[in-house]
Subunit: 434 residues, 2 copies
């Protein structure tokens, strides 16, 4: 039996930038059945009255490390090197599956409550994160961010190659591909050429997306060029065949160069912009208008909570929208629509998923914003309100593939109280000894 | 009868950066009576259990144009000149008192719900804004941002001089100085020397603060130097005696120079940083670390909703905290504490108000953050959570001068439904003809 949304302002995220007032959106079998100004015929299992709120595609968070909620604000105020070596790495050595699950559930709740319907995860213990995602009802692309620090690479000598294969066997395609597994490399500076080639072949052979950290800091970018005869991380990875799968997405891209953008456009490599993390860690400002102009798809990510320190993608959307204007001293460097598109359709394109827009046949990944939220009144332009005025807490309903998983502060797939107790009483003592 | 907060993590905003877990804070006669780790003796009219949440000083929004809520997102995506001349100014010609009151109440509700206890307003129909503030229970510094476009200045020929005097007579000192009136100039480019001198004398004669827009855009800054023999707006205003009152606060300061900072430090001119507005409008990035290093007090503002497009000062606090790190490629350019101080104590210093910290004798301007908010768990460091992870919607209680004016989504001094009806059914049709 289908579900009907009525009394909503529907932001379709189509090429015509359609905003449909007083819209009706019907959902059936997990997908959008119809969109229009008239009530569709038929009977409905449930009619959801949007009370004048905005109905929009769920947000796609294309770069995050979900269980890192545990380290929210831990070691902030230290230099990057000090922070990683003296705060993050020692804690990460202590993770177990139970703590990962609790902290992943906390991260998933935070994302769901603030409008994310699809996300990526690149972290540790990813088999466990897969179960958390399976239970939560969101869509996710999982990867393990392979590293290799040894001298002579061979798949047998690389534990992460085994992790990549096991993750693929366990979760890829789960629940009509609600979960997908991506091939992934952590980064150029944590790999050897053999691993890069192996990862590229794995993506190509299995038809998988590729996810890599690229040119996040100037140091990383310049040191790669020194190591590889002037090749940037994008160019070096290209030589290794890393971009030879169907599509790829590169997190950060702060220091990418014009030659990189041409490769990215040609090889379907999305730039995943993480503006909060890039600012907070002092990495810089990614050249987003240039990437867009070069024909590169751009998506948005929050990065891990440890470098953000929330997973409210509305915040990243706003900062993405205004940051380029400010640093380029051009009030029209990016538009509100550009930012909303990055957070929805751009993410769908990055992951090759049939979501990020409201149109018949798309997955019913939908969020409803509170029509009575003070910060959304009046509404002269829905896209402006979404990009500049909305907060994650304005989300009153989150529907993933036709199933309501969050409504008016209640989580329907995750036990909030149990999760918070596990985080506070188990994970935090385990990781931090307190 | 006093009120007691218990079971809170109190962020005192003192010089020692004290964060007091499991604190007790007692309030009596509108002021903070005691702060400590032990329950104070005596009986209480009400005991507020903070359930582990953060109790902190209320935020001080030092630059805003409160009634501009009506223009939220109106004309976004146009160049500054086009936006002002073809969108904002024609609408502003239509204001009446009833619309101002409704839109001011909407703005005040948005600020109160997101933790502001003290604000400034520089706009039109300020006598009416004064009544809204008086009824809302917050503290405010009101000014009318005087302009003069005529040839020969005389106080009699300048309507805004009359407005300044009337505002001063009507509202200055109201309710034990909960409302104060500041002297103010809109900006150098909207004044003549006579008005600047008159305003400076008015501030000096009446012991008032001075509030001015300063060096917001490069164009404004450079054109001032051309007009006045190389003097920047800060320097020109200094020559006119504008900074000769007890203290002043200058909004934006994006293009100020080292010589300006020295004058600001010497003459007690606060820089009010409006990072969202400066980014969104393409104005640039204010040199905040340099201002701080030069000994200038820094406060925070949201600017008007029309250039933000919300009044959530937590958002500005976060962007202030991370923006300098990013553009200076230094993860320690500003700390979390720096940003929280700008939003609290820095604002109190700017306005010369006895607020912005939790200490016996200070006004009881206090806000409580939800201890169960997902984005504030875990809490390794309360200041980090406030600056980087908190959202305005985490505020569950707002107390101004010892009186609770907002709690768990309910406004105790403003009629929310009546206000929204007035905005939608009266103000929006009046201003926009729809």
């Amino acid at each position: 039996m289908p579900i009907l949304f009525q009394n909503v302002t529907a932001v379709l995220m189509d090429a015509a930038h359609t905003v449909l007032p007083n819209a009706f959106v019907a959902v059936e079998g997990g997908r959008i059945a119809s969109v229009g100004a008239a009530r569709p015929a038929g009977s409905f299992e449930r009619v959801i009255d949007g009370r004048g709120g905005i109905l929009m595609p769920g947000l796609v968070n294309c770069h995050t490390h979900v269980p890192m909620t545990a380290m929210r604000g831990y070691g902030d105020g230290h230099s990057l090197h000090d922070w990683l070596n003296n705060f993050i790495f020692p804690v990460e050595a202590k993770w177990d599956h139970r703590a990962i699950r609790a902290c992943a559930d906390l991260g998933l709740m935070e994302m769901i409550a603030s409008g994310v319907t699809c996300l990526t995860d690149m972290y540790m213990h990813t088999l466990t994160v897969g179960q958390a995602v399976a239970d939560a009802g969101v869509s996710a692309n999982l990867c393990c961010g392979m590293v290799f620090f040894g001298e002579e690479f061979s798949p047998a000598a690389c534990g992460d190659c085994k992790n990549q294969e096991e993750l693929f066997q366990t979760w890829h395609g789960y629940d009509d591909s609600r979960i997908q597994v991506d091939a992934s490399l952590h980064a150029e500076y944590t790999s050897k050429i053999g691993l890069c080639e192996w990862a590229g072949a794995f993506a190509r052979d299995h038809g998988l997306n590729m996810h890599v950290h690229i040119s996040e800091t100037r140091k990383e970018h310049e040191e790669c060029k020194q190591r590889h005869g002037g090749l940037t991380p994008i160019q070096y990875m290209d030589r290794c065949g890393v971009w030879d799968g169907p599509r790829s997405y590169a997190a950060h891209c702060v220091w990418t160069e014009p030659e990189d953008w041409a490769i990215m456009a040609q090889k379907h490599v999305t730039a995943v912009h993480n503006p909060v993390s890039n600012l907070k860690l002092g990495s810089g400002v990614a050249p987003i208008p240039d990437l867009l102009k070069a024909g590169v798809n751009v998506a948005l990510g929050t990065d891990g909570v440890s470098s953000n320190n929330t997973t409210d993608l509305f915040e990243d959307m706003k900062i993405a929208a205004i940051l380029q204007n400010g640093v380029r001293q051009d009030p029209m460097a990016l538009t509100a629509w550009d930012a909303v598109e990055m957070a929805t359709l751009g993410g769908a394109r990055a992951l090759g998923r049939d979501t990020g827009a409201i149109a018949p046949g798309k997955w019913a990944d939908l969020i409803l914003l509170d029509g009575e939220a003070l910060n959304l009144i009046p509404c002269h332009d829905a896209a402006n309100n979404i990009a500049y005025a909305a907060h994650g807490c304005d989300v009153v309903l989150n529907m993933c593939r036709g199933k309501v998983i969050y409504e008016n502060g209640e989580f329907l797939t995750i036990d909030r109280e149990k999760t918070l107790a596990e985080v506070k009483q188990y994970a935090v003592p385990l990781l931090f000894g307190k």
